[in-house]
Amino acid sequence: MTDFKKIEENLKKEAKRLLESGEVTVVLAYGKGFDEKHPMPFAAKSVADVDNIVFNEYCNYNMARYLVRYPQGTKIAIAVKAADSRAVIQLIQEEKIKKENLVLLGIPVIGMKNPKTDEVIDSKTTCGMHNPVLYDVLLGEEVHGQKIVSPYDVLAEYEAMDKDARWQFWKDQFDKCIRCYACRKACPMCYCDPCFIDQNKPKWADKAPQSPGNIMYHLTRFHHLAGRCIDCGECSRACPVDIPLYLFHKKVAKECEEMFNQVSGMSIEDKPVLVNFRVEDSDKILE
């Protein structure tokens, strides 16, 4: 099991060192919330802030979400778990941030929990990896010897569904949506301003939270994240009405992986699959 206390100590130590030496101006990590179970994303900007840093099994937040908030060129250190490091890589691929401005504090972790249900979420709602893909400093022991669970295993039940039943399932889910846009705001890859749904020319959907607009919003959002979603599960965790958005994102990611043979956020050399092509792509994918 992961030693959360040890990681917290290392995180504090590194944050302190980086801020003290002036190597970075911000450390994006996790801070104390109103109780143990509810830590918060936290931006430490001075050595004094470091005391507030915590790390425990409820620190699910993908801190990559906050990277685009800082002006280009800001030196940032960021705590990254497996999926978070993939988000950083993906953002680097999309040229939203530059590697040289970042210090990645890698956190290998196993046993992250959903604070609402206390269940372990490793591969169910997130990508199922335990070790960060890219890091400058590793804050704990790499996790090895775990049974490898495909993050796509949870899809089997839904893929097996009859298409009408699947439609009904998704329609019911989307009908719950209150359009608070927590999903897109929690998503590290959703950085458009304005979002297509907020445009009034063309106006893609009603502003009112009702079925057609909700479906339009979510389907298009899934499309916009195709080949970019790094499966951190933040959208579904953020959702106040618990729409399992991660399922759809996983499915699209799986399909993209099969069609284009590339996993998102694994290498800074890659290009996002949908802004790339190979001449030898097969027409089979269209069938």
Binding site: W167, Q168, H223, F277
Partner: protein, 138 residues
């Protein structure tokens, strides 16, 4: 009464649209269910067009572009291929019949092919019946 599907055709200006023209000028017979919209390139097609078309009552959407390698803008349709393939998968997982969406490469000289594809696709959509899932109820 027989079900006559409404089909939105989105055709690239340089190949498929010209191909459709050719089909017309050579007086080829094909079903009139397709309403064609011209775009400059198949890569101009925003996937939201397809979702929106289905919401607004299209029973099927047919996209036509140049053959890979023949794009007027060199690589447009190569991007489009990847993008529209993804669109298809999304429709499928949402529970919408994938048969309602089709992408075909039809060149400017393939009037015959255009007529054939429309014929085929119309029959296919006809068999699927009216699209009621995404369609917004009036």
């Amino acid at each position: 009464m027989d079900f006559e599907p409404k089909i939105l055709g989105i055709a690239c200006n340089w190949c498929t649209y010209t191909g459709a023209d050719l089909a017309g000028t050579t007086r080829l017979q094909y079903p009139q269910n397709v309403r064609v919209v011209r775009v400059m390139c198949s890569s101009r097609i925003n996937p939201s067009f397809i979702f929106r078309a289905l919401q607004l009552g299209a029973d099927g959407v047919l996209v036509g572009g140049c053959h890979p390698g023949d794009c007027h803008y060199n690589t447009g349709n190569l991007y489009a291929r990847r993008r529209l393939a993804t669109t298809k998968k999304i429709l499928e997982f949402a529970g919408i019949e994938p048969g309602r969406f089709r992408v075909e490469w039809i060149s400017a000289s393939e009037g015959n092919r255009f007529a054939e594809v429309v014929e085929e696709f119309t029959t296919q959509v006809k068999n699927l019946g009216p699209q009621t899932k995404l369609k917004i109820q009036e």
